[in-house]
């Protein structure tokens, strides 16, 4: 897995964001068992305590459930995953719009640019 | 734990000594054959005056020189291995491993001293055989006969009344006292090196040179103490030895041996103490 950690934010919050993206992005499916905290930590090269905290965050978001016998797994609740996925998209879109507006683009121009980019990608 | 330390120390030391033991003994056998073998003697007389005869003579002389060098090497190697296993094995990088094992400093130094004494003894045995083998197979034959010879000599002495049971007891005691003296002396010698190196490693830059200096200093202190002791004791000693209790020569010898053993024991204790205290409180690994 590809982990990106920068200097500014707490490491655990960066980890929980990326873990959430792994789940909503489908790398881990609903109900799938997850590797242990230690394995995740080794893979990301971070402190297990920090990974633990990121996992706790995902649990409180309802993306991950802890089963006493089977360890941690992705929730079976697809609606919840979808809901989180929407908030992630919303957040990214908000950031995108904010930047485009700062560059002086109107809503119509933005739509045009987007349509163009998507057709180009489909053709290419 | 001490036993495990001894096991590892033994492995390391015997590894260093085995080649020279083997070489010495092998050359002693070869020399023994070369000197005593009939084939060589006959060959020499047959080849008398020829070039080959002098070649054989040169060859024999060379073998002898190498053999003498090996005998000297045996002594030197025993000394070097004793010192080096302590210096390199404890006071240099390997010390980082040894001093962080869950054992005490006294266990570390004792295990090394113990194996060093065994190696000294082994070197002595190898040297004895090496010299004996020069005499060829007769030596081995004599050696096998020796216990029986001694036993028969003792029984003859007892039978003729020369050896009373009382005297035998004393002879036994002397043997024990001498063995103790030998052992204490060996340990005292080894710990003498250890104490000097323990003090020498305190120096930042010249650990080896300072170890030599400390060895000399310790030697001077020891000699001074011994002579002062002799000076102080000579008065009382004369009185004791001239008193009626000790006019018996047999008893006097016991007293002498026991006093010597006590003195050696005290010296040993002092050196053990210096080594262990310095290494546990002032270890100075680079």
């Amino acid at each position: 897995m590809e982990w990106k950690i920068d200097d500014r934010y707490p490491i655990w919050s960066q980890l929980s964001e990326q873990l959430a993206a792994f789940i909503t992005g489908g790398q881990f499916e609903a109900g799938q068992r997850l590797p242990s905290v230690r394995e995740f930590a080794a893979d990301a090269g971070v402190n297990p305590n920090t990974m633990q905290r990121a996992m706790a965050e995902l649990e409180s978001l309802g993306l991950v459930v802890t089963n006493r016998t089977a360890g941690r797994a992705v929730t079976e609740d697809r609606d919840r995953i979808d809901q989180i996925r929407r908030t992630q998209v919303k957040k990214e879109v908000d950031i995108f719009l904010e930047r485009m507006e700062a560059l002086g683009f109107t809503r119509d121009e933005i739509m045009g640019v987007l349509r163009e980019a998507i057709t180009e990608e489909e053709d290419g | 734990m001490t036993f495990k330390l001894i096991k590892y120390e033994w492995k390391a030391m015997i590894r260093a000594m085995l080649p020279i033991y083997a070489a010495t003994l092998a050359l002693a056998v070869v020399n023994g054959l070369a000197i005593n073998n009939e084939f060589f003697t006959r060959a020499e007389s047959m080849l008398q005056g020829t070039f080959l005869e002098s070649l054989i003579a040169i060859f024999q002389a060379m073998l002898l020189v190498v053999y003498i060098c090996l005998l000297a090497g045996l002594c030197i190697m025993t000394f070097i291995v004793t010192v080096q296993r302590f210096y390199k094995g404890l006071l240099r990088d390997e010390g980082y491993l040894m001093f962080t094992l869950p054992v005490s400093v006294s266990q570390l130094t004792f295990s090394r001293a113990f194996v060093a004494v065994i190696i000294m003894f082994l070197s002595g045995v190898v040297g004895f055989f090496a010299i004996g083998l020069l005499a060829g197979m007769d030596f081995l034959r004599a050696l096998i006969m020796l216990p029986a010879e001694i036993a028969s000599a003792i029984s003859r002495a007892v039978a003729s009344g020369e050896l009373s049971p009382g005297l035998a007891v004393h002879a036994g005691l002397y043997t024990i006292e001498l063995i103790v003296m030998f052992l204490l002396g060996c340990f005292e010698g080894v710990y003498g090196f250890y104490a000097a190196m323990a003090l020498g490693q305190l120096s930042r830059n010249h650990k080896v040179a300072m170890s030599v200096v400390w060895y000399i200093v310790l030697g001077i202190v020891e000699t001074t103490l011994m002579w002062s002791l002799i000076f102080i004791m000579s008065g009382p000693a004369v009185i004791v030895f001239s008193s009626s209790i000790l006019d018996n020569a047999i008893i006097s010898l016991h007293v002498f041996l026991i006093v010597m053993n006590i003195i050696t024991l005290l010296l040993l204790a002092a050196k053990v103490l210096i080594t262990n205290v310095v290494l546990s409180r002032r270890l100075n690994l680079e």
Binding site: A44, T50 | Y8
Partner: protein, 234 residues
């Protein structure tokens, strides 16, 4: 069980006229990964050598797992020195055997598994290995113990990025959750992600102690930035 694994009380250590550590007070909890940071000569190695009993303090007291440093504490401390400590004659199995003999918390199987991954054979002679492999072997042995306290002196000094990743992963995967790891280093950026907290040493004194997450959350800076600020003039 007491919460703290290690405590220094007013510990001072001098070498001749030079004071290597001056009046250090610190307590470190169980279950933490702590970075001991500072430039060369700031007293990191002295700190670690005092904790494992290789050095004796001139004044003050040290407690490891509620005991003074000695054979009993060494049984629960796993130490990686900043140098090679192998004897020339040793093969891998001699050294592994030695660890097995002396440390009851050593797992030969764990060491073997890790060595297999690196292609190290137990019959290999240590003297013939490359410097990098020797360093990894030493780390493997140290991390194959189930110790209460790991003291790692400059484990990533002078190694390439691939070796550094191997080392950090080995540490993360093998320490047990109740044990504490102390890593001394002057390469902060590389280890920052694995640390719970950092202790900054300068000229024999602790000048700062920080929780890595707190620093980022409340001050918005990384330990690397903090370190650069603290030692900017040096």
């Amino acid at each position: 069980m007491d919460k703290e694994i290690m405590r220094f009380d007013k510990v001072t250590k001098r070498f001749g006229s030079k004071t290597a550590l001056n009046d250090i007070d610190i307590s470190i909890e169980r279950g933490r990964i702590v970075g001991l940071l500072g430039p060369n000569g700031s007293g990191k190695t002295t700190f670690i050598k005092l904790a494992n009993g290789l050095l004796h303090p001139d004044s003050g007291t040290i407690h490891i797992d509620d005991r003074l440093p000695g054979p009993e504490t060494r049984a629960v401390v796993s130490y990686l020195p900043d140098r090679m400590y192998f004897a020339d004659w040793m093969k891998v199995k001699d050294l592994a055997g030695m660890f097995e003999d002396f440390y009851s918390d050593f797992s030969r199987q764990k060491a073997r598994d890790m060595m297999d991954k690196l292609g190290i054979d137990e019959k290999d002679r240590i003297k013939n290995m490359s410097k990098g492999t020797k360093e990894k072997l030493q780390l493997i042995l140290v991390m194959s113990r189930e110790a209460k306290l790991y003291l790692l002196d400059e484990p990533i000094g002078g190694v390439d990025p691939a070796a550094r990743d191997f080392i950090l992963k080995t540490i993360i995967t093998n320490y047990s959750p109740e044990s504490t790891v102390i890593i001394s280093t002057h390469l902060i950026a590389d280890v920052e992600k694995v640390l719970d907290e950092v202790v900054l040493l300068k000229e024999g004194q602790i000048i700062r102690r920080e929780n890595v997450d707190r620093l980022r959350e409340e001050e918005g800076r990384s330990v690397d930035q903090l370190f650069r600020e603290m030692f900017a003039q040096g």
